[in-house]
Structure formats: structure tokens, C-alpha cells
């Protein structure tokens, strides 16, 4: 293989026949050869070429088939840190030339492409297209220097790896590109990408090999490689550190010598790696020992069985493994409120739909923002970015507009499902190349330029045409999911049969299928029943996915049961989990809403306090009053016991803080609602005590104080909140004026705790010996409270308990 031009395909063919050895660490080797700290490594090597030649000669002698040109930081962003961005072409091209001239025919030279040091949208600041351009520029300079291929390495963010791969492909479409990412011991990258999601995404995007470098030693890396193996259609790379740094005889060093490092060669190969190298702490000795061990291992390359997998940045969704519900809610069709939101530029409702569907068990979220009067492309781009930042869900991009499809697929940091490609000439010519460029999986809609074929034969012919066209772009049948194209039985009583026939025929051929479930019942009564019944029939024919509303519990429970029956739920774990959830009160919003409607008016009031439902407390109180309950009864016998139960649950840690505060807020709103009725009835509730609360002088942190004040009010205290940064004199003057019983002080800083002491002492100097103080805040503890003569409260309920104990004295 040495010394001649190879395309990406030839590179992949070569890797089917032989292991390949990369080089080891470069940075530490350059330091050994005199590179000082703090300089630009690329410029230093440019000025001291003998150093890199020496290192590469050693690696080639050790057995490296590929050496990386010293262009790790050779991108515009990193060079700009040294004021060298404008010399990128000169430096990077020269570095590759130097490496090529030195390596000659002894080894291939790959341009080394590493992170820019900036985070990229949708989560970071750097525009994705700009990032692609930065990598394209660097790759072009490397290509100009004669690079045989590219090694995108040390990537911590899948989105940056995508940008780099697209940039390289745009500069050098035919040259081989390998990608390695850095996974922590948690088996995720720093930005949360899983190895499987990264592989699925980059493999679909056209990487010639994928794997890991840096961060861990070979032992942990073997586990990552093993996790990748079932999904890897391309060779896997292991380029680990020489173990982990440790202290030895007072010196910090890497834990593995060359022999021990090399002993992991077989373990890495058994895990599935076929390209090996070293990262931090490795030397030519490590590579020589590794290459020696690898030579003794019989070569065997078996790419994984082809799986139909889509991904987000942090998880994968395998189609065919279990039934997948594609959440249909993010679609403005027939949703006036959502349409109005989209027109106003808000994406809040879309986020709500995403969270609801995700919680209800959708495996993929369909995203459609096709609506007149909005910029579909821009709205789609913003929504995809928002969903990717805030959820880890796999997305199905649903649009008929090629520009919208491209904008979404380009930005989406995973392998998306595309809804859809039809057999219409325009879709095949315009959308298919876009889908292929970004590696999207396809939903094939059997629709032709003549319309919808009426029978299964016509639809299968359309499917075959789409598959044939897609094959020209490198797609295989496993990358395609056929839409059974369900029509309404209300207008065609054979519609269900036609769709079921398509599902059966696809299933016989091993093709995955999907359907827009609710279409079948359009125009009919009892739509939910009809939908579920059709789903049952389709599941029996091995339907793979449905675009449906996962908020219908009956539908989701049916899917879980069907997977159990069809052998897709190993050990019945999902069925058992579902059963447990049913016993404990259900999981979806619809279930909980239905439950509250079944409550009596009085129970509904209690439920509102327990759930902290401020929005419904007034209407529920009104309903309870209308049912003949007195305001006194509702306050004393319903709401107060409810808020007491909330406090108890908080103390038992069955509720967390927002539930405690929400309960208090609902209680407060309910009390205010009842107050005029109580006054007119002559039974205004008495306050337990007057409580002044403040954040002390010099401190501006008041969220904790606000929480305590809210909770105290609902336990019958009259709370006077003086705010934050309040001087001792103001607090004590007010206490005197109001004849307060208790004072609560909050401080978050060690530097402001002293103001608590000052306030207590001022009160004593003014003769307020019976005035009690409760103190709290992040830096305050019991010892400090005792030292100033106050009572310590660790949290809001402790403050309530302390206040009640003090007024009882």
C-alpha cells in the first residue's frame, strides 16, 4: 500500500485485507526535541523541520503505515491565537510537504485535523457553515501539500467532527478520511456524545474509518471499540494513551511501558479494531512493540450486519429492533394555536410537544413546520437547533421543500430520518442528493408523478424505483423505510387492505415500513378505536414504525404488548416496567389529567394544593363552593391539611423543593380567593405570628429568603419581606414598628455573615431581648447560629418548624 495514491474506496478495500498501524504521540516527542512551552507548535515545526522528520522516521521504522503531518492546530482559529491565521496556507501546506518528502514511499501521510477550540452551533457559538469553511480551508492547504488522506482526531464534539468531515469532503472528495473522537471514562465525549451515536452519524456521512484516540488507556478503549463493533460497517480505530498518568518515585508518568501497551493489541483487535496507534505518552518504542504484537494476530475483518439506525448526538434508535412510534405532534396542520405560535416566532409549544412525546415514549420526533406566511427554512433551522440543545431526541425532518430539508440536515448533529422521498421526478432529483450528502435515512413514499398508485403492485413499483435511484447515491435497502401510504377508509373502503398488502410485501423482502396511522380513520367516528385496530392488523404484518400521537396511552400500551408478543421485548422488561408504572399511577399527562377529572370537588381542591396547581385552584375552589362546601371548611379541613401533607412529603424527601413551593403558591392563591368570603362570614383566619425576613447588608442573594417567605406565609405567619442588602438598623427599626415576634435573616457569603451578628447584637442593645432570630443560607451552620444567639434553619420547612417552636415557647 505504501507510497501511492489511494481513494477512499481503495483505502477501505485495503483495510478489508490488513491491519494498519498509525503513529504515536507527537506533541511530547517535539518537546523532547526542544520545542519550548507556549509556542505555536505548527510554526516551531515549520522552522525546525528536522524534529518532525526525526520523529516520523522513528515511527516509520517502528512500523507505522500512516504518519500524521504536524498540522494538529493548523486551522484558522488555532493559528489566530498566535497571530498566524493569515499564514495558514504557507505553514500548513509546507508542513505536509515536509512530511511527504521525508516519508517518501515508506508511509502514507495524512493531514492532521483537530478541534478549532470553539464550540459549534446548535450548542456553541461558531456558525456551523463557518466551521465547515474553516476545516475546508485547512484541508485544502493539506491537499495542496500532497496529503494522502486526512485524520480528523481528538474530537470532543460530534458536531465539530461533522463539520470537519464535511469540510474535508468538500475540499478533497476522493481522499480517505478517518475520524477519531475522545471518549471519557464515562464512555461519552465531553459534550455528551455516545460512541454509537458518533459512529452511526459519521459512518453515514462518509467517514472511511472511525474510532477513538486520547483520554483513556487501551483497556477502557477496548470497551468503547466493543460497543461500536455491532454498528460498524467501516474499520474501527484505536489510538489510546499509554495508560493513565500516575506518580512514580515522586515523578508523574504514564502507567504503561511499551511492552504492556503492546499487550493490549490483541484485546483491541478482538474488540473489533483493525487500525492501531498511540496517543499521549506513547513513543516509537510503544508503536514498535504494538506493531510487533499485531503482526502475530491473524487478520479477520467482518463488518457488522447492516442495521437500520438513526441517531441524535447522544443516542441511537435502531429500526426493526422494537416498534418505533414517531411522535407526530410537531406539525401545524390542524392546530390553530400552534400555527399562531409559529407565526409569532415562538417555539414554546413545539418544545412542549417534544417533551410530552418524549416522556410518553416516542422513539423519534417528526418535525414539520410547513405553514403559509412563515419562513419554513429558518423556522425549521431554529427549531432543530432548539430541540438539539434541549433534548437528546432523534429527529425526523419532515418537509417538501428541498432548501428546508438541506438546512435541517446540515445542522442536525446526528443521522436524521427524512420524511420523505417519493418516486416523483422532482423529489428524486432535488431531495435525494441532499439526503445522501448528509447520510439521512429515508422514508420512501410510493407516490409518482401520476399520483398515488391505487393498488399494492403500483406502490411496490414506485418503491422499487426509489430504491434504485437511492442506490446510485450509495443507499442500500436497509437505509430505506417504506411508507405504506395509508388513505382514509371513509373515502375508499379498500384503503386498509392496500396499505396492509404493501406492509406484507415489504416485510417479505426485509424492508422496514412506516405509516401515518391516523389517516386511516379520517372522517370516521371512534377514530382512536379504528386507529388502534388498524395498528394491530399492521403489527401482525411486521410494521416497523408508525407516525402517531404517543400521548394516547392505549396506543402506547398496545405497542408494548405487541413487542412482547413478537419477541422484540427481551425478558419482557418493557412490559414489566409498563405494568409497574400503571400500578404507581401512570406516566402520561393524559392519565393524570383524567384522574383529576374523576375527583370530587373537595378532592380536586386538595389535589390542586398537593400538585401545586395554582392555575386550577380558584376554579376548583369555586366548584367546591358551588357544591355546598363552606369557605371555612375548605380552608381549615381541606387546604391546611393538604399543605401540611406537602410539607411532610418534603421532609420525607418524597417531594423536592419546587413541589413544596408550588404547593405553597397554590395554597396562597387559594387563600386569597377565599379571604373575602371568610371576612364577610366573620371568620378571617388569625395569623400565628409576625415574621420579618431579610437578606442581610452587603448580600444580594435572595432566592432562598424568598422561598422561605413563601412557605412561611402558608403556615399561617404574617411575613414582612424587607428584601435584600438590608442594614441592621432598617431591620430592627421595622421590627420595633411592627411589634414583630420573629426575624429571619439570610446570607450566602462568608463576608456578609457578620451582618447577621450585627443585627442580632443591635436588637439586644435596643432591649429587644424577647425577639427571636432564625438564620439560614449556604454558608451558615448551626455552630454559627448558636454563636450569635439565633436558631439555624437548613431549609424552608426547618424554618417553619423553628418558627412554630419559637412562638410556642
Amino acid at each position: 500500500m505504501k507510497g501511492y495514491f489511494m481513494t477512499g474506496n481503495e483505502f477501505q478495500e485495503y483495510l478489508k485485507k490488513s491491519f494498519m498501524i498509525l503513529d504515536g504521540a507527537t506533541g511530547t516527542e517535539l518537546i523532547k526535541r526542544g520545542m519550548p512551552s507556549g509556542v505555536c507548535p505548527e510554526l516551531w515545526v515549520y522552522e525546525h523541520p528536522e524534529a518532525i522528520c526525526d520523529i516520523h522516521n522513528a515511527y516509520i521504522a517502528a512500523g507505522s503505515n500512516i504518519v500524521y503531518a504536524p498540522t494538529f492546530g493548523g486551522n484558522r482559529c488555532k493559528l489566530a491565537e498566535f497571530g498566524l491565521a493569515d499564514r495558514l496556507g504557507e505553514i500548513v501546506t509546507s508542513l505536509v510537504k515536509i512530511t511527504k518528502n521525508n516519508a517518501g514511499s515508506r508511509a502514507l501521510v495524512f493531514g492532521d485535523i483537530a478541534p478549532t477550540g470553539k464550540f459549534i452551533e446548535p450548542s456553541g457559538e461558531l456558525d456551523f457553515d463557518e466551521a465547515v469553511a474553516i476545516f475546508r480551508e485547512a484541508a485544502q492547504a493539506m491537499k495542496d501539500g500532497g496529503a494522502d488522506g486526512f485524520a480528523i482526531e481528538t474530537m470532543m464534539d460530534l458536531q465539530e467532527a461533522r463539520a470537519a468531515l464535511l469540510g474535508v469532503r468538500e475540499a478533497a472528495p476522493d481522499l480517505p478520511v478517518i475520524v477519531t473522537m475522545t471518549f471519557e471514562s464515562s464512555r461519552r465525549t465531553l459534550t455528551g456524545n455516545t460512541p454509537e451515536a458518533a459512529l452511526v452519524t459519521l459512518q453515514a456521512l462518509g467517514a472511511d474509518a472511525f474510532g477513538c484516540n486520547c483520554s483513556t488507556g487501551p483497556e477502557e478503549m477496548a470497551q468503547v471499540i466493543a460497543a461500536l463493533k455491532p454498528y460498524a460497517r467501516i474499520p474501527l480505530i484505536a489510538k489510546p494513551n499509554a495508560g493513565l498518568p500516575r506518580l512514580e518515585n515522586g515523578k508523574t508518568c504514564f502507567s504503561m511501558d511499551a511492552k504492556m501497551f503492546a499487550s493490549y493489541g490483541k484485546i483491541l483487535a478482538d474488540a473489533g479494531a483493525s487500525i492501531f496507534g498511540g496517543c499521549c505518552g506513547t513513543t516509537p518504542e510503544h508503536i514498535a512493540a504494538l506493531a510487533g504484537n499485531i503482526r502475530d494476530i491473524p487478520f479477520q475483518y467482518t463488518p457488522a450486519e447492516y442495521r437500520s439506525v438513526v441517531s441524535s448526538a447522544s443516542r441511537i434508535c435502531e429500526i426493526g429492533k422494537k416498534f418505533v412510534v414517531i411522535g407526530e405532534r410537531i406539525n401545524p396542520t390542524g392546530k390553530k394555536a400552534f400555527q399562531a405560535e409559529l407565526r409569532s416566532g415562538s417555539l414554546d409549544m413545539a418544545m412542549d410537544f417534544a417533551l410530552q412525546q418524549s416522556e410518553a415514549g416516542a422513539g423519534i420526533l417528526d418535525v414539520n413546520v410547513g405553514l403559509s406566511g412563515i419562513d419554513e427554512k429558518e423556522t425549521m433551522r431554529k427549531l432543530v437547533a432548539k430541540l438539539c440543545r434541549s433534548t437528546g431526541e432523534v429527529l425526523c425532518i419532515d418537509s417538501t421543500d428541498p432548501a428546508t430539508v438541506e438546512a435541517a440536515l446540515r445542522l442536525y448533529p446526528g443521522r436524521a430520518l427524512l420524511n420523505s422521498i417519493s418516486a416523483e421526478k422532482n423529489r428524486l432529483e432535488k431531495v435525494l442528493p441532499i439526503a445522501a450528502k448528509y447520510g439521512a435515512m429515508l422514508i420512501a413514499l410510493p407516490l409518482t408523478d401520476d399520483g398515488i398508485p391505487s393498488g399494492a403492485d403500483g406502490r411496490m413499483a414506485a418503491v422499487d424505483r426509489i430504491i434504485a435511484e437511492a442506490a446510485r447515491y450509495g443507499y442500500c435497502e436497509k437505509d430505506i423505510c417504506v411508507d405504506a401510504l395509508i388513505m382514509a377508509v371513509a373515502s375508499d373502503n379498500q384503503a386498509a387492505w392496500s396499505a396492509l398488502e404493501v406492509i406484507s410485501r415489504c416485510s417479505e423482502r426485509g424492508l422496514h415500513t412506516v405509516c401515518g396511522l391516523s389517516n386511516i380513520s379520517f372522517g370516521l367516528p371512534e377514530r382512536s378505536l379504528v386507529n388502534r385496530t388498524f395498528l394491530g392488523m399492521a403489527l401482525g404484518r411486521n410494521l416497523s414504525m408508525a407516525i402517531a400521537n404517543p400521548l394516547f396511552p392505549e396506543l402506547m400500551s398496545m405497542v408494548i404488548a405487541a413487542d412482547s408478543l413478537l419477541g422484540r421485548d427481551e425478558k419482557m422488561n418493557r412490559l414489566l416496567e409498563f405494568s409497574e408504572k400503571q400500578k404507581s399511577g401512570g406516566t402520561s399527562g393524559q392519565i393524570s389529567s383524567q384522574r383529576s377529572f374523576a375527583l370530587s370537588p373537595v378532592e380536586a381542591v386538595k389535589d390542586a394544593v398537593l400538585r401545586g396547581d395554582s392555575d386550577r385552584i380558584e376554579s376548583r375552589l369555586q366548584a367546591a363552593l358551588d357544591a355546598g362546601n363552606s369557605p371555612e371548611y375548605l380552608l381549615n379541613e381541606v387546604m391546611i391539611p393538604a399543605i401540611t401533607e406537602v410539607g411532610k412529603k418534603y421532609e420525607e424527601k418524597k417531594f423536592f423543593l419546587p413541589q413544596l413551593i408550588s404547593g405553597a403558591e397554590a395554597m396562597s392563591r387559594g387563600s386569597a380567593f377565599l379571604e373575602p368570603l371568610l371576612i364577610s362570614g366573620g371568620s378571617q383566619p388569625e395569623k400565628k405570628a409576625k415574621f420579618i425576613i431579610a437578606t442581610v447588608k452587603g448580600d444580594i442573594h435572595d432566592i432562598g429568603k424568598n422561598i422561605v417567605a413563601t412557605v412561611l406565609k402558608n403556615y399561617g405567619f404574617e411575613v414582612i419581606d424587607l428584601g435584600k442588602d438590608v442594614p441592621p438598623e432598617v431591620i430592627i427599626d421595622r421590627a420595633l414598628a411592627e411589634k414583630a415576634d420573629l426575624i429571619g435573616l439570610s446570607a450566602l457569603m462568608t463576608t456578609t455573615m457578620g451582618a447577621m451578628k450585627d443585627t442580632v447584637e443591635l436588637a439586644r442593645r435596643r432591649g429587644l431581648t424577647s425577639l427571636k432570630f432564625i438564620v439560614g443560607g449556604a454558608v451558615v451552620d448551626k455552630e454559627f447560629a448558636d454563636s450569635i444567639g439565633a436558631v439555624y434553619a437548613a431549609d424552608p420547612m426547618s424554618a417553619v418548624n423553628a418558627a412554630e417552636a419559637l412562638i410556642a415557647q
Binding site: S37, G124, D157, L190, T252, I703, T710, T750
Partner: protein, 201 residues
């Protein structure tokens, strides 16, 4: 100076839940409450603008009272110094999530929402500090240096809050729109400054 005008952090849902008193074994959230919590938390997360910078400074001597840097600066704090024996350099990092999230917190009419905003901002600042430190660890490893995973901040143990001034002057934190008040608290409120030891491999 290693500067990040936008750090990418993951949504630290578990840490936020824990910070708000949640207990994974005991706390029960019905679907509606969970959705409400998550929506508020995600909105707060979107309002966080994590950024940070770090630098390392050669160490001259580590004593029982603190650390002398080659530049002549002294970092007081015996507890920290005791953990730093044998270090060659001191890593100094600073992150902030900006003031937008706390401004939105203060605008919340429901205290429960304010509490969630506050917890999200605090945990995101911690998460940003973790990310900054990991970025530094990887960068330093390539330079043949090992960054300690533990970090220390002014105000903890016996390290006085006055040490904050060192961060503001050496890291020029004004460029992150950070301000040190007279009482030595940092504005924006949800910010972290920290040291960690660096050893040469």
C-alpha cells in the same frame, strides 16, 4: 490565555434535581409536575451563556501557608497548598453563565420557577467549570502536563476570598463581563473561579 466565549455544556438535569432537594429513590414526580419542572429548567438552561478562560502559572515554591508563583504572586491557603506538593504550575480557571439567567430568575412571578432558575444557573456554572477543566486537562496532557482533577476556590477551607482579586487581575475577567464587588462576590452571581495543581509528566 485560553478563552472560550461559549462553552458547550450538557443539561445537568440530575444535578439540578438533586440541588432542589430531589432524591432519586424517594421523590415522586407525577408526569405533569415533571414536565412543568423540565420545561422551566430547559428555559433557564437556554438562558445560560457559559463562557470561561484559563491559564497556567509556573510555581516557585509551595509552603505551609500557600503557594508562591514565579511571577512573585502569593496564593494564600494552607489547606490547598498541602494538596499541591510537587506541582510545577498552578492552573487558574474562571467561568460564568452570564447575567441573563439570573435576571430572568428575578423576573419570575412564581417563586417555584425562580428556585428552578436559580438551581439551573448554579449547576450550569459548575458544569461549565467541569468542561473548562477537562478542556484544559486534555490540552495540558498534549503538552506533557497533568492537571489535578480536584479544584479549589476562594472562600473554601482557609483560602481567603481576597484571592478572587488574583483571578480578576491575571485572567482579566472583565473580558468575560465579570465584576468583583467590594464584598468580594462575583457578578454575574453564578460564576466559578478555581485553582488546580499541574505536574509535569
Amino acid at each position: 490565555m485560553n478563552h472560550y466565549s461559549r462553552l458547550q455544556i450538557n443539561f445537568p438535569e440530575k444535578a439540578i434535581f438533586w440541588r432542589l432537594g430531589g432524591n432519586s429513590a424517594r421523590t415522586v414526580l407525577d408526569a405533569e409536575s415533571h414536565r412543568r419542572f423540565k420545561k422551566i429548567a430547559l428555559t433557564a438552561f437556554e438562558a445560560c451563556e457559559p463562557k470561561g478562560r484559563w491559564e497556567i502559572f509556573p510555581v516557585k515554591e509551595v509552603t505551609a501557608d500557600g503557594i508562591y508563583l514565579s511571577s512573585g504572586s502569593f496564593i494564600a491557603g494552607g489547606n490547598f497548598a498541602a494538596k499541591c506538593r510537587g506541582i510545577n504550575a498552578l492552573w487558574c480557571g474562571a467561568v460564568t453563565v452570564g447575567s441573563r439567567v439570573t435576571a430572568l430568575r428575578d423576573e419570575q412571578t412564581m417563586v417555584s420557577a425562580g428556585a428552578i432558575y436559580d438551581a439551573v444557573a448554579a449547576e450550569c456554572a459548575d458544569e461549565a467549570a467541569d468542561v473548562l477543566q477537562e478542556l484544559a486537562r486534555q490540552e495540558l496532557l498534549r503538552r506533557g502536563m497533568l492537571l489535578d482533577e480536584r479544584r479549589y476556590s476562594p472562600g473554601y477551607g482557609d483560602m481567603p476570598l481576597e484571592v478572587q482579586k488574583f483571578f480578576f487581575s491575571t485572567l482579566n475577567l472583565a473580558e468575560l463581563a465579570m465584576v468583583l464587588s467590594e464584598n468580594l462576590y462575583i457578578i454575574p452571581e453564578k460564576s466559578v473561579t478555581a485553582f488546580a495543581g499541574v505536574k509535569t509528566i
